[in-house]
């Protein structure tokens, strides 16, 4: 096994290696100066699939923050700092509906969530139009989805340095989202 | 072949130094026991590494203990004593067949060695099963608080040692059963030696995890 043939092995292995590593891992990208889709993109999103006549094609906006670890972590920070926990209390619900379950009143796709934040919703969800920049909206939407386990496990955040109140998003199991109207929330006595 | 540099007489030489055999060692034994054999030293090396790992876990346990006023912290139950004590007793008892098969191995008595090894393997598997139940006896999930994490760390660290030793003893038993190579007897004796270490090193961990919360 002379030294030269050993070098040939190394070059062959290195060549194969670099081929594999060509793609940059999108999950871990830190996009600081990227601009995310702004207001008009999510304004025209319909929240229900029922439409008279032939349903027009669904307008989908792919959220850049989807599956990006940095954006979800930023969303988690903003969720706590802007007092969303005041009503949704870390996802378990309180005055506001719970976000960790698979019941979605106004849609679970990122653009639905962004529309909910911007428009506000009856029964107390304030409208944050012009208050939150586009980047942060998509980051918040990505985090809310990870609360319900809808984001990939890799980029979802682990525990944070606070008192432990729930299982962290990384270990929240995926459950297929189910539309539910705010009215058929079971009365208090029937709740399990 | 050109030679480079200012190499005066006593500095460099081209040819290799001829070796003149003066002693014959072909009559030296090839199967020896205890610290004369190389694998014994290897086992001691791994014991040192594992002892260092366990000491890191136990040191972290006492370091974290300093952060709490009440240990275990409020609203955290004390670990049970029943299952862990049973598991400790079974582990210590497992040393009896271990010593016996080590002695038999030194006497090259294959039948006795294999018999006692099976007894030791069964008892160690019982101890491994009890250890898995011990995780439940800690009465706390590993992610509840720092106390739970370090308690789990100490018990899990030693669990890896116990599992490794059990499977190694099982492997040697199966080998000894099928064939009778003389050179495997020292290996069996070393496995016993490792079992003594594995059980001995568990006692301070047992005291740390199960008794210290009651004393502090």
């Amino acid at each position: 096994m002379s030294a030269t043939s050993f070098y040939r092995h190394c070059c062959r292995v290195a060549a194969v290696g670099t081929l594999l590593l060509g793609f940059a891992c999108k999950r871990e990208e830190r996009r600081f100066t990227a601009t995310y889709p702004s207001a008009p993109a999510y304004a025209a999103v319909t929240l229900d699939t029922l439409q008279p006549g032939v349903p027009s094609p669904e307008l989908t906006v792919n959220s850049p923050a989807e599956g990006n670890a940095y954006d979800i972590a930023q969303g988690k920070l903003l969720f706590a700092q802007w007092n969303c926990t005041g009503c949704h209390s870390h996802g378990g619900g309180g005055m506001g509906p719970p976000l960790m379950d698979n019941e979605w009143i106004y849609g679970s796709s990122p653009e639905n969530i962004v529309a909910t934040i911007v428009e506000g919703r009856p029964n107390g969800m304030p409208s944050f139009r012009n208050r939150i920049t586009a980047n942060q909206l998509w980051q918040l939407a990505a985090y809310v989805r990870s609360l319900a386990g809808l984001e990939a496990k890799g980029p979802s955040p682990g525990r944070n340095d606070e008192m432990q109140y729930k299982v962290d998003e990384q270990r929240t199991p995926f459950r297929t989202p189910r539309a539910s109207s705010s009215r058929n929330v079971p009365a208090k006595s029937e709740r399990p | 072949m050109t030679v480079v540099g200012d190499i005066s007489a006593e500095a460099g030489r081209q040819a290799e130094r001829p070796l003149r055999p003066v002693v014959n060692v072909s009559d030296l034994p090839s199967v020896v026991y205890g610290s004369r054999v190389v694998t014994w030293w290897g086992t001691v090396g791994f014991m040192a590494a594992e002892a260092a790992t366990l000491s890191a876990c136990v040191a972290s346990y006492y370091y974290v203990l300093r952060n709490f006023e009440s240990w275990p912290p409020l609203r955290t139950a004390l670990p049970d004593l029943f299952i862990p004590t049973i598991s400790l007793i079974v582990l210590i008892l497992a040393l009896v067949p271990t010593y016996l098969f080590a002695r038999a191995a030194k006497r090259f008595d294959k039948r006795a060695t294999v018999r006692w090894m099976w007894v030791a393997v069964v008892m160690m598997f019982i101890a491994t099963g009890l250890r898995l139940m011990e995780f439940g006896a800690l009465n706390v999930r590993w992610d509840a608080n720092a106390y739970a994490s370090v308690a789990w760390a100490v018990v899990f660290a030693h669990f890896t040692l116990l599992l490794a030793d059990t499977l190694e003893t099982l492997l040697f038993t199966v080998i000894m059963q099928r064939r009778d190579p003389a050179r495997y007897y020292p290996g069996v004796a070393e496995d016993a030696f490792y079992s003594y270490f594995m059980v001995a090193v568990w006692i301070p961990c047992y005291v740390t995890v199960y008794l210290v919360p009651r004393w502090v």
Partner: protein
């Protein structure tokens, strides 16, 4: 030697004592280093002579004894130098400790955030507690006890001209003290790696006479004046109706969020963006429009504002003296 900004350009007793010890150690180390080099040089020259005369290596017993003596002397010398070194360190350590007989000490609580500083002046009268950010004023001559807390990761509070650094560790309450013996304006850097913008997490230190300090203190305590003319009124509306209100607070207005630095007296500060940008109108505009171009990774998002809104906002912010 006053090399600006270095640990020798001291303005406080602790830093001065440390600088003196540092000089002592540097000189001792330098001398030791020269001795080692000289010894190596002599050894090389002496032995080269032996090579040219064709002699063999000198392994005679008397040379061995002489060399043993030399090595023993060198080792004992090293030990003595180290003893001197340790005692000098202990003495300086005692000298830079918190003076027990400090009169009228001022207490400041420093909280480190990811990539900006928050200072809370804990006056003896609780209602006079002042919270500012990214700018530290201290009166000359008064010892200042500094309490170090962190909100997220480990930072390090370090003003080279006044004292050594101490880390801000979450979960720990670290303390240090500083005292300025002469007025001056310095720039202090965060000294423990804390993420993307560790490099530009600075704060300004202004040491001034007690009188000027009290004036500054009273002015800072005052809330912001409501806007008077229409331009600043519109600027105020942009501030409270757009994205700024989510993170910043201005006492005297509806903005009360403590996510980001408070801006009640932003116009009075020499720099913005945690001490890394001079506080001019152009810089403020560039910073508000897209902070990521100046400090990539910082938590403040880019804000799309129309030029009219931007100018009104800048006018309003400039009134916040």
């Amino acid at each position: 030697m006053t090399w600006a900004g270095s640990i020798f350009d001291t303005a406080g007793t602790p830093a001065a004592r440390i600088a003196r010890l540092a000089w002592f150690l540097i000189i001792v180390s330098g001398v030791t280093y020269l001795l080692v080099l000289v010894a190596t040089g002599i050894a090389m020259r002496r032995a080269r002579a032996r090579r040219t005369q064709g002699e063999l290596a000198d392994t005679r017993p008397e040379t061995a004894n002489r060399l043993t003596r030399n090595v023993a002397i060198a080792t004992i010398a090293t030990t003595l130098i180290l003893l001197g070194y340790v005692t000098a360190t202990a003495l300086t350590g005692k000298a830079i400790a918190w003076p027990l007989n400090a009169q009228r000490p001022l207490t400041i609580e420093v909280t480190g955030h990811q990539w900006w500083w928050q200072f809370r002046y804990r006056d003896s009268v609780p209602s006079n507690w002042l919270t500012t950010s990214n700018e530290l004023h201290i009166p000359v001559g008064r010892p200042v006890r500094v309490i170090l807390l962190s909100n997220d990761v480990i930072h390090s509070f370090w003003i080279p001209e006044l004292h050594g650094k101490q880390d801000l560790i979450p979960g720990h309450r670290n303390t240090t003290w500083i005292q300025a013996d002469r007025p001056g304006v310095w720039k202090a850097h965060c000294a423990e790696f804390c993420g993307h913008q560790h490099a530009k997490m600075l704060f300004d230190v202004v040491a001034e006479s007690p009188a000027k300090f009290d004036q500054w203190y009273i002015r800072q305590l005052a809330s912001a004046l409501p806007p008077t003319d229409s331009a600043t009124k519109r600027g105020h509306d942009v501030f409270v109706q757009r994205t700024c209100i989510m993170c910043h607070s201005i006492n005297g207005t509806e903005a009360g969020s403590n996510v980001g630095p408070e801006l009640t007296h932003i116009a009075s500060r020499p720099s913005i963006a945690a001490g890394s940008l001079p506080n001019t109108r152009v810089n403020l505009a560039r910073w508000i429009l897209n902070p990521q171009l100046i400090k990539p990774g910082v938590r403040m998002p880019p804000n799309a504002l129309s030029p009219a809104d931007m100018n009104a906002l800048l006018d309003y912010l400039e009134t916040l003296k």
